[in-house]
Symmetry: D3
Subunit: 298 residues, 6 copies
């Protein structure tokens, strides 16, 4: 986004930090999301300075900087989780609100470990999958299908203030999504999404998360694959980019503590359109974060 690149040892003036986590070690199907941050940076040259609907000017509202990529270990999940958490800890301790370009969805977990130090937060979660599975492959606790189960177990995420929008796709068993529902997550399947209509979906999301601190997590596979073919686990029949933009704009005024756009996998979309979508969604979230930051500053 043509932002100044700032090193971690000089965060004193930064209010919002745009970070990448170039990692896909939690991916079970098609890898490649490790290249997501780079391609989103490339395509961010088309981002402009004024939001054409809200007229918000995020770069005037808040001091934004590109903090580069988090360190990762491409061949070790636990080590990566620790490295990413440490990186975000230093950002969070400096009072910076993070906006992250993934990476697969597992990376949201260490980000939350770093920033949710004052109790569980709510979440508006756009995705085709609930990502609340327990284990894969005979015991692996950490994959891109499990981050929010772990986050709830660890007290980082409040399931009763969590709404998941766009859920769909075949199931492996009857009970795949039951755990999350039992915890109190509000799941809006894509079928309910189309039945309700977008204004009702926005209202429901706002009702669920309420006034508390909230994180926005946007998995591009919530979109129909025609908008985001470059992703690891595409599921046909999702929402459109226009509707995604409307939904995020509908979250204006929430008390946001961070956000991410994940699962952009460039090798599966040579056209680059998925990354363009990803960076445009990041700009939508950035506008909301900037208004929050400006509001808190007083």
């Amino acid at each position: 986004m043509r932002l100044p690149h700032i090193a971690l040892d000089d965060l004193s003036d930064v209010e919002i930090g745009v970070c990448g986590v170039p990692w896909d070690g939690g991916t079970t199907n098609r890898p490649g999301a490790r290249h997501g941050p780079r391609q989103m940076r490339d395509l961010s040259t088309m981002v402009r300075s004024v939001h054409h609907v809200s007229k918000l000017k995020p770069f005037e509202l808040a001091n934004c900087a590109d903090l580069g990529d988090s360190p990762v270990n491409p061949i070790d999940i636990e080590d990566t989780l620790a490295r990413v958490e440490t990186y975000y800890k230093s950002i969070h301790d400096a009072g910076v609100v993070p906006l992250t370009a993934g990476g697969d969805h597992l990376i949201t977990l260490p980000v939350m470990r770093a920033i949710c130090d004052q109790g569980p937060v709510g979440m508006v979660h756009f995705d085709a999958h609930t990502d609340t599975w327990d284990r894969y492959f005979g015991g692996s606790k950490y994959t891109h299908g499990t981050p929010f189960r772990r986050a709830i177990e660890e007290g980082l995420l409040d399931p009763k203030r969590t709404v998941q929008i766009g859920i769909r796709g075949g199931l492996y068993g009857d009970f795949d999504n039951d755990w999350g529902l039992e915890q109190g997550i509000r799941v809006i399947t894509i079928e309910e999404y189309f039945d309700l209509g977008i204004e009702a979906v926005i209202a429901e999301a706002r009702r669920v998360v309420g006034d508390g601190k909230t994180y926005v997590s946007f998995d591009v596979d919530g979109l129909d694959p025609v908008y985001a073919p470059g992703t690891g686990t595409p599921e046909i029949g999702g929402f459109s980019t226009h509707d995604a933009q409307r939904m995020i704009r509908g979250l204006r005024g929430l008390d946001l503590v961070g956000g991410d756009v994940v699962e952009v996998s460039p090798p599966f979309d040579p056209s680059g359109n998925t990354a363009l979508v990803g960076v445009t969604i990041m700009f939508e979230i950035l506008c909301l974060l900037a208004e929050c930051v400006a509001g808190r500053r007083g």
Copy 2:
């Protein structure tokens, strides 16, 4: 779909057979559908076991098997028609309900010749084209534009119980679609489709085919080309995959005797999304077939 692969000489326990017909010799514009079955098999690894809306479990409801590909002759239409018919005859005689991955749309004709041995069936036909033309190129009776004219002439298809959904595209003459209309086919153009809305389209389709035996034929070019670019005769301005899924789910409870998904042409979609769409649609049809088979079993 991770199904057991079963040879034709041991069909005793099989109730639904998934078959490929790797052939595109009836294609007039862009060939490549011969590679459709293989790519759909590749992408079927993402199919799961429970339908996320209907909760149907097709692999529990019916004994399903992958029967491999039908023999074809890539350079001889009449020989191919005979080979495919013989192959499906042996399946049908064993009491197996076929679900087919094409191949171009002409392959539906020999399938019907094999299975419609008790009088004409009805059809729910998703397509951009009526495929009821008479002849091409100075007399060719068999192309992917003519199968349903032949099927009606041969008493395999009941035009009065046939509904075609999504028809569009320029015409070569005033009378291209008149023959079908005169036979009593109910043509729902894409314009009428959008005007009616999806619930009314489903109701109309159910009204047309009624309680009799019915075949479901899904040409991926009925979809907008953004969902299915890998096809031989794309026509812009079609329906979405989400709506296609809803329409097929809306056919639940019909008396189905078989189904197919045709015109997936991998060379024209390096991303593989068209094949992913194709196999997901096959899974939707499979759920309906499995419930039928279970119901007939009693």
Copy 3:
């Protein structure tokens, strides 16, 4: 479109001329539109002779010919503007109505210089961008972001009879679109477009341009990028091809003096779908032009 190719020195019988302008020298981001006319010609082999909704037969209504490509100078903007104007002047002087395949959007300016010799015309303009900026890069008056500012200044385009549909995307400053609004252009942003619904948009467009002479300019980036990824400045969240077709059909009966489809950039869409979309939109416009021409002939 399988039209006869006619040389410029024998236009006596031609009423509508299909022309290409293979040029992208006004492009600020991703070049490639210079190859648009050729790929649209390639894909025009799928165009048929009767419009499937209106039943119009443009090739019977009017004498249509392919006039080839306009001369251009790939490395000199001013020289290109002069060459294109001269080329269209000779077409216009022969009484031929031009339908153009671009090329970037700047090429509409010299076309209008050639044909708007009897006062300013109205315009129905489909686009993600207003293209009414003033200058880029320290003074360049001529880019693909400025043609309609120049056209208004030169008295070729009547801003009060101009409607722009689909406008969106971030802004560089608060005032990017103010100039056009002050001149009286009716801007329908994509947000208003979705709120109004397509029938109301058509009605509003007809109200704005009224009965006077009108030009139709269709930038494929008005479409969502999934329908037209092969373009220079994609903006996510646009309208669909089906809706584009409906809107153009809704312009039937206007007094049209020409039309174009621009910004098709083949290098960014190896699938060719963007060019297929472009040529299908050209066919929709051609049907309208042919009916106008036939009506004027009396």
Copy 4:
């Protein structure tokens, strides 16, 4: 090649006719060669007027014209063979030497039927395959693997004056190539090709065909697939384009009666490089044909 396009009924001044045969109905593996002529025309805009090594100027040496595409029937082999033969007959009867862009390799057969009316000709045949098989698929006499067996049987091709260069790839049986060898064809496998070196290969080819009338047939799969990935039956380990150019230049002075470049299949090479290779090879052959024609004219 920016040649004037000439209709068949006005061939009086034409000496060399460049023709396309957009057909792939004889293809057993990956179809798509039907689109070869069009893409080769597109890329021929880069052809220039003087050969940079021989300094030959083919368009000055002979009157060359683009005769368009032969009629074909995409779904009927025998009908296509008849149509192509008729088309070339009319060209040949007008005294025009044909240079053909295929299409699959079967199309060389009807061309030879049209032009070899004065006894069998010799051939320099570049290919990975001998194309002298007998039958496929239970009896089909006409596929892209059989044209030269048919041509020898029909007395069109003199096997003793035929040299095949680049032959390789696994065999279906011990005897695949024996028939051709028994007829007297000189087969230079790719292994022998690399062992001999290019100068010796050229000398051997000239020795085999001698002074009699000779046809040059260039199947792009003779090249290594990295140079020509867009083809139906790629075989790794072929010769390079540079060496192909040298070999054709080495045929200068032979008594040539025609030539072709076949098996360019655009869907399998989105980059277009295969077609660029094809058209450059056509230019090399054209230079030789033009010099022959000029020499005969005296």
Copy 5:
């Protein structure tokens, strides 16, 4: 290769087993090799039955079967190493010689652990990289850059009977390759390869491995990237497929105990040519293995 697919519990008649290891968890740069086995299977339909140079008929010489894919754990390296070793142990214990389609190069390590139970073997290793690094990323012992260091340390590989062909690419430090050289590995850099010529390289490889048991490991990045763009760590300036074929043929008569082709990564080569190359190389190795097996049988 159209082989019969055999389950692991019925290996009694099998002599050579073709296996896949769909895993890329050891990849440090571009993932995707997990999809290699599937695409190589797809393209193996072009494999024929007789080697066109040696005339060997591997499917007659030995009883060959497709044993499917080894189990892996996409998100755990140590667990994957154990699963693959167990899988190959069962194959080896049944007396089957394995020919493996990778997967990244780390997978050779567990294969060797399973089959080298009678002391270290020699190796002909084609690659751009020595893969004898020690550790990456602060301690990871197992990556696709370390398998042969581990294999030497564990007594599976005899460095004095190991030859590496095609090594090139920039180094991270002076000593990257020193460890291997000190162990006695014969490294033939690509520069020495071109200087020696292919016959001398073959002779040297045969001299190094001698008469003892030998394994052939072929990393497709040893080839120039134009032949194998679909790979994780491409290095420009490699050998050609033709030369690779010649080198493998030159190993005829060695006492081979297994072989593999690794690092085919389909997402980075939409054309599929890399997989075609991979499967053709596998066929070359298969011919050698089959002759060995037949020889041992007596």
Copy 6:
């Protein structure tokens, strides 16, 4: 290349500056080279620190920095020439040796205007084209086909110390290359290149440029298009990347004042291989420059 990024106002410690010129306004055929610098930066993450043949360590030999991209004006050639010259003037005045990533070949002209302030330099020029044409399109002096004619006319380039390697491709007229030959340029066509062999070509290049100051300009279209498909004016039949590397290594010890790699056009190579080739060639040149800089430092 993971270099520190340095702003122009702090060049005091820099000895070699890597710069991009994102511009293709001089391109006559296929644009896109403006995206070359960005993609080369992306792929430079694979560059390592020690040259594997010469063992040179450029980053230790000289203080290298990434100076970012030169300002350009995408729609004005003369303005761009001025901006690039000014940018390089400031670099040159600070005593920094530039290594440039293009951009089209015209950009070499303003670089030379900036750095050749002490009389004409010699040049080793790798290319398929001489780029010494005079004018295009009725008078344009500045295109990517003319930079070296201008450089000679302006006294920046000494034709008698200029060698061009790899020249080929059809000509527009007899005299295309005569002007350069008359000035004394040594043109080694690709035919002579293959006849001489690479060692003789290196010796000849060294003889021509001698001991004087010399610039290395590498147009990727000198390579065969299979190695560099992503370029504006591909010509089949070029040299290989391995040979290019050898030739550049053969220039070791010359008195080099700068270098560039130009005409990398990412839109025409979705695989990214062309950019990988480009950045690897840049590393080869960088090693030579670093040794020169270190030698001058004493």
